[in-house]
């Protein structure tokens, strides 16, 4: 294979990996909104939480995998506590109040992070088992860890697919259930569902943060950065649609990667141009329902 | 027979594989009440939505005074003079009944510098609102719309459509949920409105329908089963079987 073709392939792999990671975060966001009707600005903070937990626990245990195994339950517990304390009073309220409360939450969580971990950028070494590159051509090779990340994300995406297609909860998600009656009519306890969905959202975002640490490091503001891109994904894909989130994430991942390579002056803007284009064509996203 | 003010021909609307409305034609004339009846799911509400513009037809045409209006936005159609009332009360709950009608009357103004004048100078809108409320028999409309009784809210629905000075009224089950005396009053009101408007009346209340309708169309499963004068419909065996119930 020629070098430029391989180069192209590498960009595709990067784009797909970025997209898949984004999918983990965006799917949690769209699930929480689709099932619970809650818009959570602090969703990116869970990504950040996962990353920082992974960093801290890796420092402690010396092993990223152990760290992840420990960190996921910790993140979920934290998420559930937040749900009980702060989110439950918001279910019945207007989106405006959810936006504002979670806005305050982002500020508070960012500062807490600053207090506990400081403001420096931290890196975590690649786990030794995956610290190698796959040789592609004479000069170009691809890091195995990135392939591992993509694989993990695909496994999780597969798990989500199973959830959507094979369970009653999945039926509710597919039906675009965003009100209590619909979900209740499936014979599942609504409070339990809300907690489970919220926990799932937290776990997805936190896990994404954790496995991304070796390549992306931890830095202040990482949560907000990915949150906004997740919003773009949800807008493009349609709220409540996992399929839309998957396609949207891949589109964004590829657009961002290729945008950075071919038009670095427009760095970061390709994503928004894409969003504007989709909105012109479909105001409710690719798989969204009516733009209620 | 008078020229039809609103004429639908071969109107159809499909949702995926299901045809909610299939090849429906009907005409409305000024001074006449054309009632559409049929079992639940017959496509009556879809028909109203097609005529008011809230749904675009999959096929067919709707002509209003020589203008093809199929596919136009609801706002444009309303401004032409076709007003609709809703089966489920759809008012501005936080405003008073008077304010509801006044806002409805404003719709006819369209855009223009007039919009930037202080609102209290718009006495014509106040008058139109008062007139509409009086026509339907609602008293001084100072009470909050959300706090009115069900019957009064349905009266408000009609008043709002009247406040827009329409030529055509599309009434979607105006008697729904009303008691006997309220229904009688509303039925008399609709009959009186027929003098100056062309009226499409969707209703389940057969007494009311047969007492005031000039023309009846029976819809079943999206199609027109039969259309004609009330007596012909009442005597039709097919209609009795499908909808009115067997026997005389």
């Amino acid at each position: 294979m020629s070098d430029s073709l391989v180069f192209f392939l590498i960009q595709v792999l990067n784009g797909v990996q970025e997209g898949l990671l984004l999918f983990l975060v965006a799917s949690g966001l769209t699930l929480v909104f689709g099932i619970m009707g809650v818009i959570n600005l602090a969703h990116g903070s869970f990504y950040m939480l996962g990353a920082y937990l992974a960093y801290a626990l890796t420092q402690l245990t010396g092993n990223l995998f152990f760290a992840v195994l420990l960190a996921v339950p910790l993140a979920v517990v934290f998420g559930l506590a937040l749900e009980a304390l702060l989110f439950r009073p918001l279910y019945a309220r207007d989106h405006l109040y959810q936006v504002l409360l979670t806005y305050g939450l982002i500020l508070a969580l960012e500062e807490m992070r600053s207090l506990v971990f400081g403001d420096d950028v931290h890196g975590v070494a690649l786990p030794r088992a995956l610290d190698f590159s796959i040789h592609l051509t004479g000069a170009l090779s691809y890091p195995a860890y990135r392939l591992f990340m993509s694989a993990m994300c695909l496994v999780i995406a597969g798990g989500l697919w199973l959830l959507i297609q094979k369970t009653r909860l999945g039926m509710a998600i597919r039906a675009g259930a965003s009100n209590r009656e619909m979900v209740q009519s499936l014979g599942i306890d609504i409070a339990w569902i809300y907690r489970a969905v919220f926990a799932l959202g937290v776990a997805l975002a936190a896990f994404a943060g954790m496995i991304a640490v070796p390549v992306a490091s931890v830095f202040p503001g990482m949560g907000n950065q990915i949150l906004i891109i997740s919003f773009v994904v949800v807008v493009i894909g349609g709220i409540g649609s996992i399929k839309g989130a998957f396609l949207g994430s891949l589109l964004i991942g590829l657009a961002d990667t290729f945008g950075q390579v071919f038009a670095p002056q427009l760095a970061g803007m390709t994503v928004y141009v894409l969003m504007a284009a989709v909105l012109l064509w479909r105001p409710a996203g690719l798989f969204g329902g009516n733009p209620r | 027979m008078a020229e039809p003010v609103l004429a639908a021909r071969g109107l159809a609307r499909r949702f995926g594989g299901l045809a909610a409305v299939d090849g429906v034609s009907l005409a409305l004339q000024r001074g006449r009440i054309h009632a559409v009846i049929g079992p639940n799911g017959a496509g009556k509400s879809t028909l109203v939505n097609l005529l008011s513009g809230e749904l675009a037809p999959s096929a067919g045409s709707v002509r209003f005074e020589n203008l093809e209006i199929a596919g136009m936005t609801p706002a444009r159609i309303a401004r032409l003079g076709i007003a609709r009332s809703y089966q489920r009360v759809n008012v501005f709950a936080g405003f008073s009944a008077f304010e509801n009608c006044r806002l409805a009357a404003q719709a006819r103004l369209g855009a223009g510098l007039r919009l930037l004048l202080p609102a209290r100078t718009a006495r014509d809108l106040d008058a139109a609102a008062d007139r509409a409320l009086r026509l339907v028999g609602l008293g001084p409309g100072g009470r909050e719309a959300g706090k009115l009784s069900h019957g009064e809210q349905r009266q408000l629905e009609i008043a709002m459509t009247l406040a827009t000075s329409p030529k055509v009224l599309l009434l979607d089950e105006p008697l729904a949920g009303m008691g006997a005396s309220e229904s009688a009053r509303m039925t008399r009101l609709i009959k009186s409105l027929a003098r100056d408007h062309a009226i499409l009346l969707i209703e389940h209340d057969m007494d009311a329908v047969f007492s005031i309708a000039d023309q009846l169309t029976v819809m079943v499963e999206g199609k027109v089963l039969k259309s004609g004068r009330p007596r012909a419909i009442r005597n039709s065996r097919a209609v009795r079987r499908a909808y009115l119930g067997g026997g005389a």
């Binding site: 818009i39 702060l86 009073p89 405006l96 109040y97 936006v99 504002l100 409360l101 806005y103 305050g104 982002i106 500020l107 508070a108 500062e111 207090l115 907000n224 906004i228 919003f231 773009v232 807008v235 002056q265 427009l266 760095a267 970061g268 803007m269 928004y272 504007a276 012109l280 105001p283 409710a284 969204g288 733009p291 209620r292 | 008011s52 809230e54 936005t73 609801p74 706002a75 309303a78 609709r84 008012v91 501005f92 709950a93 405003f95 006044r102 806002l103 409805a104 404003q106 719709a107 006819r108 103004l109 007039r114 919009l115 930037l116 202080p118 609102a119 209290r120 809108l125 709002m160 827009t164």
Partner: protein, 313 residues
């Protein structure tokens, strides 16, 4: 739609008199602080037009604030002053045009989508400014000489204070007047039940777009004055933090009242000032305050006032 109670008018008049007299006894620091508050009040009121009257919850309103600010920098020669009478209208016009362009796209969305896309568009401006060498990138740019007007000196704290006060009072009166027109009634109708408005015959998109553009212009006014006051402009002026802060001011003060956002601006800027003096991590108590306010004060401070009135009246 209720007419304003006499007590509210009295309080407003009292407030205005107090603000007019304030420079007679205030130290320069407080003059600058209050000027900043009044500029934020303009910003918050412009957002209230969208949120409290048209029912449009925009989380990207800072985009137009930032445009007003950057316009002043762009129109200012490097070591000379811009002409106030030219640059201010130009800045507002630019902000209005941007709002028109953005509005054409985002107003096709409603509900949560609208919140998300307004945030995303503001971020687009942020990333553009951050990545642009011409506009100074993330470091921002400086305005070394304040605009001149021939009438007043913006470099003097008291005079700038009065300019800010005029802007705030002017914005209030303009918006109050607009709400009292048929256009204003239509906006309230759109907020109440947009679908019904359409079925009555209103072209609601046009109304929303007009409101969005006007709100953008006023946000540009606030951004311009902010840049004139501090002489420093950076991409954070487009940021979601500022958008969220403005939204908080509107809600805290009480949306749909116009004076509510003014109250909200006072409370939040004073709070921010006090907290940031106390600790480097002032965003933590700020965030907690916001959370508590949302949980326990849904109608904002003016809602409290109304309830107090209701008990007595």
């Amino acid at each position: 739609m209720k007419t304003r109670a006499p007590i509210e008018t009295a309080l407003l008049a009292l407030g205005l008199v107090a603000l007019l007299l304030f420079p007679l006894l205030g130290a320069k620091f407080y003059l600058q602080l209050f000027a900043k508050i009044m500029i934020m009040a303009v910003f918050a009121m412009s957002l209230d037009l969208l949120v409290g009257y048209a029912g449009l919850v925009s989380f990207g309103h800072a985009a137009f604030f930032g445009i007003g600010a950057y316009m002043l920098w762009w129109l200012s020669p490097q070591y000379a002053a811009a002409n106030f009478w030219f640059s201010l209208p130009a800045a507002m016009a630019a902000a209005a045009l941007a709002a028109l362009a953005v509005g054409l796209l985002v107003l096709r969305c409603s509900g949560v989508y609208f919140i998300m896309v307004t945030l995303a568009f503001a971020q687009m401006f942020f990333y553009f400014a951050t990545g642009s060498k011409f506009f100074g990138g993330s470091d921002g740019v400086y305005i070394y000489v304040k605009p001149v007007s021939g009438l007043f000196n913006l470099g003097d704290a008291a005079q700038f204070y009065y300019v800010a006060l005029t802007a705030m009072a002017g914005t209030y009166l303009l918006l109050r007047g607009l709400i009292g027109t048929l256009f204003g009634r239509a906006l309230l109708g759109i907020r109440g039940n947009e679908q019904r408005m359409r079925s009555l015959g209103f072209s609601t998109f046009g109304y929303k777009l007009a409101a969005f553009a006007l709100a953008g212009a006023l946000a540009g006014l606030a951004g311009y004055l902010d840049a004139a006051q501090f002489g420093f402009v950076n991409p954070d002026l487009f940021g979601w933090r500022l958008s969220g802060l403005a939204l908080m001011m509107v809600i805290l003060g009480g949306m749909g009242t116009l004076y509510g956002p003014i109250l909200g601006a006072f409370v939040l800027v004073l709070l921010q000032d006090t907290l940031s003096d106390a600790t480097r991590h002032w965003l933590l108590p700020m965030g907690v305050f916001i959370i508590l306010a949302v949980l326990f004060l849904p109608r904002g401070v003016s809602g409290l006032l109304k309830r107090a009135e209701g008990k007595n009246g």
